[in-house]
């Protein structure tokens, strides 16, 4: 079989025709709702393999020939992303389905508060970043046709007179026409293109089969796998020459992992065209397996090509030139079709994805802003405008790619061009990850971050690719702009030890991520952004009332008008009928509820993107973008959360306080328990002394029969006295405990304390006489009124005065008593000229059973309960008893009782 350029071109056209037929049939098939096979997870997986472009088909071989194993990184990155599908892709697909996301620009715009600016930015940058990638496909197709034409003995055939640039232009034009025919026949609901996906799946099978066929041929021709490798080693080709696992390895693996998420066409096939989330399960292993199969023969083909092809032949074309050189025309044609497949599938899908972004994020917003009412007046106005915008953008995108190809045509390798594109689209990765995982990432920060990353990319990756065709770029590369050497594109800030690829990846992503993080930390989110962020992050949590939706009033007619313009007559009609049926109202009296408006918005978003749908509907729905009530409700929800957390905090504070109180109470209990023990042991001790005496004397009386009368009398007298003491002790103890427990009923009468003092003086006069003590009353109050028990007060005064008498050991003992009114208090002061109370004992004299040194030394030793009882009694009468410093050397007690000012007081 002889290959000529004409034959190759004719075959390509026929192949494209076949693809078109497949797409057409598939579309019809799914329209009849019988899409069974086309919606299988395997077709889905095959469509994802649009990732393997002619870069893989031709470029990977070239890359393997130049840098050994490095080409696999382009497939290892995506392998890891798919194996970890649960963590990123699953969320992405789920969120995009529930939010009707149509593109990567739509995803970011929607997450960051339906920001129109972000949508425009991402779209523009994607178009620029993809240009080199499309150029790569053009270059690959052109080179492959050239390779066949160059090898053909019939010369260039009808290509006579076409140079490389002209050929590439022709290819670009053909592709544009083809893509327009394919992808813009209608504005689909949800932007799903079943026909295109079917064609892409077919192409995936063709390119894989072709590459494997060439691989098998190489293994066969090279004498087995071992033969190929040892042959190459014998020819002096050593794969250990290159630094395989260096910075480039890590850099390109990271890039490829980012690209499988960020490339517009990958987003289109993986996320937008996904019809069932469970398909991702199959793709998680099947797509890596596909890439493995694609990579398996790359190294043998490259090594075999290096071994047998003449020096200087283009390694990118080995896949094609090896069969050609062996005279295998049929295989070469198959290989060409494989390469052509991989290029066309990429170009079709990429330009469809980009054109959707351009029309939804640039054209529609412009149309809405400049109110092209005349345009949208007709029923199909918006739809026609959308289609037209998409067609124009497809042409634009392809010719941007052609422009890049034309400017860089002198550089020869394919793979580096692709990596430039990868670095460009990787700038979306930080924002996408933030959209999925970081609630506080803000739109302003995302815009700044993507712009920053992109500027660095333009400078460090994109610009250097023109170095071969532009002397001024080459000068900037060598010297830096205006001779500023630290701004050299491939050695920013003097970092020149990295490979240029790793250098560009590092600086652009570093700047991008830093700006995103710092920006989000210092800026605030708008209300809508806040709501959208919550929707994206809580992927399983359904929003209770769909916040962020438009609230307000709109007539059904207005809504229907909008819906018909965008969705088309039939779908709009279906949507409204469904609503009418659900609410049970007639078409004519249909009242659009907020829920319905929200549903309509999402439906529209499926066609024109979230931001545009939002703007479009908010024009019709009066009430503003976010109504006051909505803001209030959102504030309410926030408030509720805050209140809830505050309530929790309060409860825990209460618990803590309770625990503290319990602890204090416990401490107090233990203290009281200790006091009780002490009290008991003191009581036992006090009771024991008289009991011992009583027992001893009564034993003597019992055992000694012949005691004389006086001894017996004296013993009985002692027993009697000790019994009295015991009784009075027990009385006092009972008194103390009753007072402390406070369960005795107290009479609270108004009385004149002076009468109690009189009574106490009468009782104590006898004792004073007996002791030879002088009682001197120095001052008296005429009359006063206090509330309490008069007898008890006498008891206190008797106790105090008798103490002063009993413990006074001065040569001429004197006790001074005076009563007076001190402000609201009635006071009685009792002082003596005795030894006084040593300072060390003063704090303890009111303790139960405490007797000072002096007390113990005298014959009148009491139980040490007098003062505690007195104090307790006064306390019950709201009074106090204190030891106060006195002028003389002795002790001075002062008791105070509050005066009753009541006029009824009569004494």
């Amino acid at each position: 079989m002889t290959l000529t350029a004409d034959l190759v071109i004719a075959t390509s056209v026929a192949y494209v025709g076949l693809l078109f037929l497949v797409a057409f049939l598939a579309d019809r098939h799914t329209r009849r709702r019988a899409g069974g096979f086309l919606r299988s997870p395997f077709v889905y997986t095959l469509s994802i393999s649009v990732y393997c472009t002619s870069w893989t088909f031709y470029g990977a071989v070239g890359s393997a020939a130049r840098t050994g194993l490095e080409f696999v990184t382009i497939y290892l990155g995506p392998t890891l992303v798919f194996i970890g599908w649960w963590f990123i892709l699953r969320r992405l697909v789920h969120i995009s389905h529930s939010q009707r996301i149509t593109s990567i620009a739509d995803l970011l715009s929607s997450r960051f508060g339906k920001s129109g600016v972000l949508g425009v930015l991402v779209t523009l940058l994607a178009v620029i970043a993809i240009a080199p990638y499309i150029a790569l496909q053009l270059k690959a197709v052109t080179s492959s046709i050239e390779a066949i034409a160059g090898a053909s003995e019939f010369g260039r055939g009808s290509l006579e007179g076409w140079d490389e640039g002209g050929l590439a232009f022709g290819v670009a034009a053909g592709m544009a026409a083809f893509t327009i025919l394919f992808g813009t026949r209608n504005v689909d609901a949800n932007e799903q293109h079943h026909g295109v996906v079917a064609a892409i799946a077919l192409e995936a099978v063709v390119k894989l089969t072709a590459l494997i066929a060439v691989g098998v041929f190489v293994i066969y021709a090279g004498g087995g796998l071992e033969g190929v490798f040892t042959g190459a080693a014998a020819a002096g080709i050593d794969i250990y020459d290159t630094d395989t696992f260096g910075d480039r390895w890590i850099g390109s693996m990271l890039l490829a992992a980012a690209a499988i998420i960020c490339l517009p066409r990958q987003f289109q096939v993986t996320v937008v065209e996904n019809s069932d989330e469970s398909h991702l399960r199959t793709a998680s292993w099947a797509f890596p397996a596909y890439m493995l199969a694609m990579s398996l023969f790359i190294l043998p083909i490259a090594l075999y090509g290096l071994t047998i092809m003449p020096a200087g032949s283009n390694p990118d074309m080995f896949t094609l030139t090896l069969p050609l050189a062996a005279g295998q025309g049929g295989l070469a044609l198959f290989a060409f079709i494989g390469g052509f497949s991989s290029a066309t599938s990429m170009i079709i899908l990429e330009s469809i994805a980009l054109s959707i972004m351009v029309s939804n994020h640039i054209v529609v917003p412009l149309m809405l802003r400049f109110g092209a009412e005349g345009h949208v007046g007709s029923d199909h106005g918006v739809r026609r405008l959308l289609l037209r915008a998409r067609r124009v953008s497809i042409v634009l995108i392809l010719f941007l790619g052609f422009g890049y190809f034309y400017l860089t045509r002198s550089s020869d390798a394919l793979a580096p061009i692709g990596l430039i594109s990868f670095t460009g689209v990787a700038q979306f990765l930080p924002a996408i990850l933030a959209a999925l995982f970081w609630r506080d990432a803000s739109a302003k920060a995302a815009i700044a971050a993507i712009s920053t990353g992109f500027l660095v990319w333009l400078w460090a990756s994109f610009l250097p690719s023109f170095a071969t065709s532009s002397p001024s770029v080459a000068a900037i590369m060598a010297e830096g702009p205006y001779g500023i050497s630290w701004l050299r594109p491939q050695a920013l800030f003097g970092l020149d030890m990295l490979d240029p690829l790793a250098h560009g990846v590092f600086w652009s992503l570093f700047a991008n991520t830093t700006v995103l993080i710092l920006g989000s930390l210092v800026t605030r989110q708008s209300a809508l952004e806040h709501v959208q962020a919550a929707l994206f992050i809580d992927m399983s949590g359904r929003s209770p009332s769909e916040p962020g939706s438009l609230h307000g009033s709109a007539t059904t007619d207005d809504l229907l008008l909008v819906a018909r313009r965008v969705l088309g007559q039939q779908r709009a009609f279906d949507l409204f009928s469904e609503e009418a049926r659900q609410t049970g109202t007639a078409w004519t009296s249909l009242e659009p509820t907020p829920a319905f408006i929200n549903r309509l918005e999402r439906e529209l978003a499926g066609s024109i993107g979230a931001a545009s749908a939002h703007i479009m509907l908010s024009k019709v729905v009066s009430g503003g973008e976010v109504s006051l009530e909505e803001v209030m409700r959102m504030a309410d929800e926030t408030q509720q959360v805050i209140e809830h957390s505050q309530a929790l905090e309060r409860t825990s504070a209460q618990l803590r306080a309770t625990a503290e109180k319990l602890e204090a109470a416990n401490l107090q209990l233990r203290e009281v328990d200790r006091q009780k023990d002490e009290f008991l042991s003191q009581v036992s001790h006090e009771v024991r002394t008289p009991m011992t005496a009583i027992r001893a004397f009564s034993e003597i009386l019992l055992s000694e029969r012949d005691l004389d009368e006086s001894s017996v009398r004296s013993f009985v007298d002692t027993i009697h006295k000790e019994s009295l003491r015991l009784t009075s002790l027990l009385d006092e103890i009972l008194d103390v405990s009753a007072l402390e427990k406070g369960d005795r009923v107290w009479e609270a009468n108004l009385f004149d304390p002076e009468r109690s003092l009189d009574q106490a003086l009468r009782v104590c006069n006898a004792l004073a006489l007996h002791n030879g003590t002088t009682l001197q009353v120095t001052q008296r109050v005429d009359s006063a009124h206090v509330s309490g028990d008069a007898d008890r007060l006498s008891q206190v005064l008797i106790n105090l005065i008798s103490n002063a008498i009993k413990y006074n050991n001065a040569p001429s003992p004197t006790v001074w008593i005076r009563s007076f009114i001190d402000g609201p208090h009635y006071c009685v002061e009792i002082s003596d000229n005795g030894a006084g109370i040593p300072e060390a004992e003063q704090p303890r004299i009111f303790d139960k059973f405490y007797r000072g040194q002096r007390g113990r030394a005298t014959a009148y030793a009491g139980a040490g309960l007098g003062l505690p009882i007195s104090r307790e009694i006064l306390a019950r009468m709201r009074g106090t008893l204190e030891l106060v410093p006195s002028a003389a050397e002795g002790a001075c007690f002062c008791m105070r009782l509050p005066l009753e000012m009541d006029a009824r007081a009569t004494g």
């Binding site: 194993l69 009707r100 696992f245 998680s284 399983s540």
Partner: protein, 79 residues
């Protein structure tokens, strides 16, 4: 295995896959030896790749069904 552990296992499976492909781990196999003529490092990368695919296949079957998720999506599409 409970759901949480399975998900954690899937995460670590992916992370270890990444580590296996990267230096310094991959450098262990950069010795000048050949297996059936194929350099050891190339053979290593492909073997790990195959193991990852097999592992992913297992995980794709055992990872829990996100019941709420597909239901939501279904409802969204039909609405």
């Amino acid at each position: 295995m409970i759901r949480r552990k399975l998900v954690a296992a899937a995460l670590f499976f992916t992370l270890f896959g990444a580590i296996a492909f990267m230096p310094p781990f991959a450098l262990l196999f950069r010795t000048n030896t050949r297996v059936l003529g194929v350099p050891l490092e190339a053979a290593y990368i492909f073997v790990v790749w195959i193991l990852l695919i097999l592992g992913a296949r297992w995980f794709s079957r055992v990872l829990p069904d996100d019941n709420a998720a597909p239901a939501d999506a279904q409802q969204d599409r039909s609405s």
